[in-house]
């Protein structure tokens, strides 16, 4: 239990600290590195929750593909050295209000879960890859296919958008 607590504190500190780094760092390249740190820490939290397959997906897709693509684009466009002069501070209030509303809504849900007092399930049940696969390919088969179709469309669109000027 104490091990769980220590890893949880380390991972959540890294996740929140990385997120703060993304927002506060003025240079886009370092923002991307902070994003990779935050995503890795969230993968650690997934593993701690028993969602080992999701943690692997997170590392493979998010850190390995998305964060690297972000860093690649920052370097490709050559904007890594260009720091922002000022932030748009007038939107800070809207952001704070949105955050408080979202937090309040989630805490309301937690309070309901608290009152319902769901019977505890045997640990390790949710970490089972077999259960994950059965849910994914049986009950969620249609959303899965739609997701893959969406991914294909996005891939074609991205290639089409970034094609050379002399392309067909």
């Amino acid at each position: 239990m104490t091990f769980h607590l220590i890893v949880f504190v380390l991972c959540s500190l890294a996740a929140v600290g990385g997120a703060l780094g993304v927002v506060l760092e003025r240079r886009a390249f370092y923002s991307g590195l902070a994003l990779a740190l935050s995503i890795l820490a969230v993968a650690g939290l997934f593993a701690l929750l028993g969602a080992t397959f999701l943690a692997a997906l997170q590392v493979l897709i998010y850190v390995g593909a998305v964060a690297v693509i972000f860093l690649f684009v920052v370097g490709f466009l050559g904007v890594y050295a260009e720091a922002e002069r000022r932030l748009r501070r007038r939107y800070l209030l809207i952001g704070a209000v949105t955050t408080v509303v979202a937090l309040g809504f989630i805490l309301l849900q937690v309070r309901r879960a608290w009152q319902e007092a769901t019977p505890a399930v045997a640990p390790g049940v949710t970490g089972d890859v077999r259960a994950f696969a059965e849910a994914l390919f049986e009950r969620f088969a249609l959303p899965l296919e739609l997701t893959s179709l969406f991914f294909l469309i996005a891939l074609v669109a991205a290639v089409y958008l970034t094609r050379g000027r002399r392309g067909p």
Binding site: V22, R89, T99, L103, F140, A158
Partner: protein
Amino acid sequence: MSASWLLAYVTVGALLFGIGVVGFLVRRNLIVLFMCIELMLNGVNLTLTAFSRYHGSVDGQVIASMVIVLAASEAAVGLALLVMIFRHLRTLDTEAFTRLGEPGQ
């Protein structure tokens, strides 16, 4: 998993989401705005997984895995658009994108 652990996990998720919202509204670099969207999606994924563990069901994890794929495709299309915008305007500052704005503002 006890309810206090659930509270701890969803608090981290809500913090990630909130930091993402504030960053999206405050920053002006288009690439950083996309990074902030990824932060928000990460917060949502963490909340989904925490509730999934709490209820002893894998449904939340399945939805979270789909969110990861959708985030990847969103990043692909978004960054392609961003490269196009940079080719046209030579900047990624959101304050420079005024072509659709009302004149005189």
